[in-house]
Subunit: 271 residues, 2 copies
Amino acid sequence: MSKEHGDLKSGHDDKADVIQSVAMALQILETLADKDADIGVTALATALGTTKSRIHRHLRTLVSLGYISQSEETERYRIGARLIALGKAASGSADLSSVALPHMRALRDATGHAVSLGRVEQDGIRILNTLAGNMQIEVGVRPGSLLGFTNSAQGKVALAAMSDKDRAALIPSKLPAATQFTITNRDEFWAHINTVRDQRWATAPNEAMLGLNALSCPIFDADRTAVATIAIVSLTQYIETPPDPMQIRAVSEAAERISTQLGCPNYVWES
Amino acid sequence: MSKEHGDLKSGHDDKADVIQSVAMALQILETLADKDADIGVTALATALGTTKSRIHRHLRTLVSLGYISQSEETERYRIGARLIALGKAASGSADLSSVALPHMRALRDATGHAVSLGRVEQDGIRILNTLAGNMQIEVGVRPGSLLGFTNSAQGKVALAAMSDKDRAALIPSKLPAATQFTITNRDEFWAHINTVRDQRWATAPNEAMLGLNALSCPIFDADRTAVATIAIVSLTQYIETPPDPMQIRAVSEAAERISTQLGCPNYVWES
DNA sequence: TGATTTTGTCTCGCTATGCGATACGATGTT
DNA sequence: AACATCGTATCGCATAGCGAGACAAAATCA
């Protein structure tokens, strides 16, 4: 498929060949969506730089379809119930597991290591899905299991990616030690979280289990809150300290792609 | 404005005179939004009963505008980030207070009594806005104040409209008595809540303050959860037991209209 | 109150625009 | 290797959507 269509002569931006009616309708919806107050035909026309006739025709169809509604007293227009429902449906359809799966596969193929996807819950990272690595020995966590916030790469990166008060609400009073490499000193742990936030990834060599390591990045949703994590999991000898920059980039890009598909406007951490 | 345009001869449904391109584009978005899996051009064309060309052209523009995105491996289409963002913006713009205000006014004018709007919070109903009634004596609650779940019409109707486990999480261990008419017996209170759920409205004569009564209905949002309440507040002699059916209908209709504008698909209680 | 502006709505001819039919290359299936 | 099916591109044509303008009802002003 995918014919090249190298149209060199007419250096057209890809803003061409879009159906103008559709573009206009969506522009109207966008404009209406981020105004809090109702807005009239004339104001809309001047705001979008087109004629009143056009706007009015579009408003009529959008009202007729239920996506916007018109106030009865003042005759201005506002967002309608159906657009809200559409938005809800859209968010709901962006299911984390299904969206992430192809990117998990790509990450596994790029690194050769096991990949795990986790959701941020009240008391840890719940593993939703894992992909086995390309090696003989089977490592990795079981789907359904819960990783601690303090002794896993996924947990630490989730903590580091959220706001200070959210973090304070989640961090346990005691730092449980799974191995002798787990950080249990409170101050030391906070400093470590700050480092994680700066470097935008986390590892946890030998922290959960001796000989194992993971490299994790956070996944943000449309509200730009860290709702999930993705990680590669392997032996400590394959994920070194610090990890191969190629590995970091691979995990980070997977996280970014998934975040974008979830509606995250841009993959940057909150400050 | 509002020209009558009584077009009697051509008994046309209002499905005419909509811009077909826009209708098609929105149909595509709707279809894509409630499918969880990606979907291809051909499937979409047969599902919507039109040609592949048309669908493909629309998909191209929607992709170009960012509302949907195309998988790179399989060349199928899915919901895009921008649609999710639009939905979020739409929900956010449906602000409860501003949406409710005109309906509150209509309710006040229809009944002559004070009207109050409350939001369901963790430990009670927070009064967001009130409109004074058309009577000499000033009754009603102050905006900002918090009504109890057990001794106000608004609180009881909110409890009755939510699911059993949500209700169990909210109901206080002790039933505080504001007056001697407040229900303090636990079994009796639960039975009363069931009655409220069946009749779909609640009153609280003399329960919060002697001589005062309120008639309240719940307001649902796009998720069909009870997020707010609306009520008329007056003297017990004007809101009788049981209340005038006209009053019940007026409050209920206001609640329904507000719910609809918030994106609630249909004003029915959860079972 | 009456004059004036501004609003939302409607009409009408024109042509740009989105349409259907068809074809093509690529992929996967038997 | 033949086949079915996929997404994509092309191309006239007629229709659908467009702009300009007119109109009445409100809102605003005098």
